[in-house]
């Protein structure tokens, strides 16, 4: 990736992180950790990888994105705002009464949200349905979904994986946000779903391991995914929960807690310093 592009993506990812912090701080609740861990992936998806048009959120031939780990909605809202689906100023209405930015993604309320999610395990199945619809209709749009590493403890995730491989959904790209932490502690301690690579391979996926915070690796992973035929692709992204805010990184306590005013100011300053 050329340096200018990388710099631009870094800038976008930082803006997404700021958007996440603004939203969660204003809401006084929400999920910053797992939102920050996918900020770089979201930047790449919406600004490089996906065929989308913010002026036409219902465009029939657009690529689809399903945030199966729906609690990290702030990351989705922040990238949609950055992309121009709605004004960035609206991010602070997150979780407020009558806001179009619900605690978990709502396709009927938020322009650019392709699927209502939040209950874990359901989104990846819906993404399979979208990918199947493209196959039935002979359309070339692709479907992307991010599941959490903790989310993969849900049995439905594996039902969906079986389905995706059975129907050869090579237009489907499943990403695992492997940040290693879930609400109650380390994923490995709560209910260890690893090894992701071997399990997903056994379920019929082409599996790619990549660093979630390295744009070269992200680019290479998505480029490979596009070349895979006859089977779905899974990209297992090794990520850092809370990435970008030093005191949130790898801290399980920041799964679902909002920063107070002081913490918010420190976090924003840290991110701005890198821009």
């Amino acid at each position: 990736m050329n340096p200018a592009k990388k710099q631009e993506l870094s800038r976008i990812a930082s803006n997404i992180r700021l958007g996440i912090l603004d939203a969660v701080h204003a809401a006084k609740c929400g999920h910053p950790g797992g939102s920050l861990s996918i900020a770089d992936i979201m930047a790449y998806l919406y600004f490089e990888e996906m065929r989308v048009d913010a002026t036409r959120p219902d465009w029939a031939d657009r690529d689809r994105f399903v945030l199966s780990k729906g609690h990290t909605a702030p990351a989705l809202y922040a990238v949609l705002a950055e992309k121009g689906y709605f004004p960035r100023e609206q991010l602070v209405t997150l979780r407020k009464i009558d806001s179009f930015l619900q605690g978990h993604p709502d396709m009927k309320k938020t322009p650019g949200v392709d699927m209502t999610t939040g209950s874990l395990g359901l989104g990846i199945s819906a993404a399979c349905g979208m990918a199947l619809a493209a196959k039935i209709d002979g359309k070339d749009y692709r479907t992307y979904t991010i599941i959490g590493d903790g989310e993969s403890e849900e049995g439905q995730v594996w039902e969906a994986c079986m389905f995706a491989a059975h129907y050869k959904l090579d237009n489907l790209c499943v990403m695992v946000d492997w940040n290693g932490l879930q609400i109650d502690g380390a994923v490995a301690d709560i209910m260890n779903p690893t090894p992701y690579d071997k399990k997903l391979e056994a379920f019929g996926f082409h599996v790619i391991m990549a660093d979630a915070h390295d744009f070269d690796a992200i680019e290479a992973a998505f480029a490979t995914a596009r070349t895979v035929k006859g089977k779905p692709t899974a990209i297992v992204f090794k990520s850092v929960k809370g990435k970008g805010v030093s005191f949130m990184e790898n801290q399980v306590g920041w799964h679902g807690v909002a920063p107070n005013d002081e913490q918010y100011a420190t976090a924003v300053a840290e991110i701005k310093a890198t821009m």
Binding site: A60, R64, V66, D106, M107, K108, D114, M115, T116, G118, S119, G121, L122, G123, S125, A126, A127, C128, G129, M130, A131, L132, A133, A134, I136, D137, G155, Q156, E159, A160, M162, F163, H166, Y167
Partner: protein
């Protein structure tokens, strides 16, 4: 003697007929032979998708298909649709209001010998709590066929309830189905028998028995349980002053509850319920089970007399 056909047969045939005319897809969870979607699979193999024994995934896949513009019919037994996949139906289909049609067969006690694990007496109650969900429970195969087309043309989620057991065909050639509209099958002013599904033919039988005893019962077929035809129910409450509601479902949360809720809020009169009391089913032949759980014309007659006695 009327022909006897299971409503699931009507479902299967309707899918095949409508498949020629409309663009939709059918999902099943390894029960295509039993749910009768197998007929559709035979005719349109490229539009039938077996999801394997994974009902939760099937419902969310259906939601994804609908979000991408397709109209999916998702089929399995009522227990595994409304029961196992309740949360997927609620969150993936109901909450976003997606255009998914759920074909739930083998509902109620008349699953028969398979026993309590498969006898779903709770599905209407579960589905009624989902905002925006339309619920249809046809009385015979003719109504079932018509209901499938109405469901297809309706934009939004629909739960269709079908039975395994062959039941009398009470509707004729010219039958017209109107979503959300109950049908008055028999006029009468002493008491009203409100019935749904296979209990409709039993209600008609009960009305004959009552007539012989000088009691003139109105009979209403409610095929659309939600949205309920409250106008017709309240008219019956006002004009007959007592209601009996009969359904092959738990007395908790089904049509009986829906009618009682409606009547108690707007025109309180006695509402007695015929259905499975708060208990599980068990194995047995269908006639033996219907008898054991009081799903009989005789029980409707008894409840009608009790309701009459309560009239002011």
């Amino acid at each position: 003697m009327a022909d006897k056909i299971a409503t699931r047969e009507g479902y299967g045939k309707a899918l095949v007929e409508l498949g020629e005319k409309y663009d939709f897809v059918v999902l099943d969870a390894d029960l295509a032979a039993a749910t009768k979607t197998g007929m559709f699979r035979k005719k349109f193999p490229e539009r039938h998708f077996n999801c394997g024994i994974a009902e939760g995934n099937m419902m969310s896949v259906a939601a994804g298909l609908a979000a991408a513009g397709k109209i999916p019919f998702a089929s399995t037994f009522a227990m595994f649709a409304a029961g196992r996949a309740f949360e997927q139906i609620r969150n993936s289909i109901g909450y976003p209001g997606l255009n998914v049609k759920i074909g739930a067969t083998h509902a109620g006690t008349t699953v028969g010998e398979d026993g309590a694990t498969h006898q779903c007496n709770e599905d209407i109650a579960l589905m009624r709590t989902i905002p925006g969900m339309t619920i249809i429970n046809p009385a015979d195969a003719v109504e079932a066929r018509a209901a499938v087309e109405a469901a297809l043309l309706h934009k939004g989620p629909v739960y269709m309830r079908f039975g395994r057991y062959a039941v009398p065909v009470i509707n004729g050639e010219g039958y017209k189905f109107e979503l959300g509209k109950g049908i008055t099958l028999k006029e009468g002013n002493d008491v009203t028998l409100v019935a749904t599904g296979l209990m409709v033919s039993m209600a008609l039988e009960a009305a004959e028995t009552l007539k012989a005893e000088g009691i003139c019962a109105r009979v209403i077929n409610i095929h659309t349980i939600k949205p309920l035809d409250t106008e017709l129910i309240l008219k019956a409450a006002r004009e007959t002053g007592a209601l009996v509601v009969a359904e092959e479902h738990s007395v908790i949360g089904g049509l009986g509850s829906a009618v009682a809720e409606t009547v108690s809020a707007a025109y309180p009169v006695p509402v007695l319920r015929v259905g499975v009391e708060d208990t599980y089913g068990r194995s047995g032949t269908v006639p033996a089970l219907l008898e054991a759980y009081g799903l009989t014309p005789a029980n409707i007659v008894a409840k009608a007399k009790a309701a009459l006695a309560m009239k002011k």
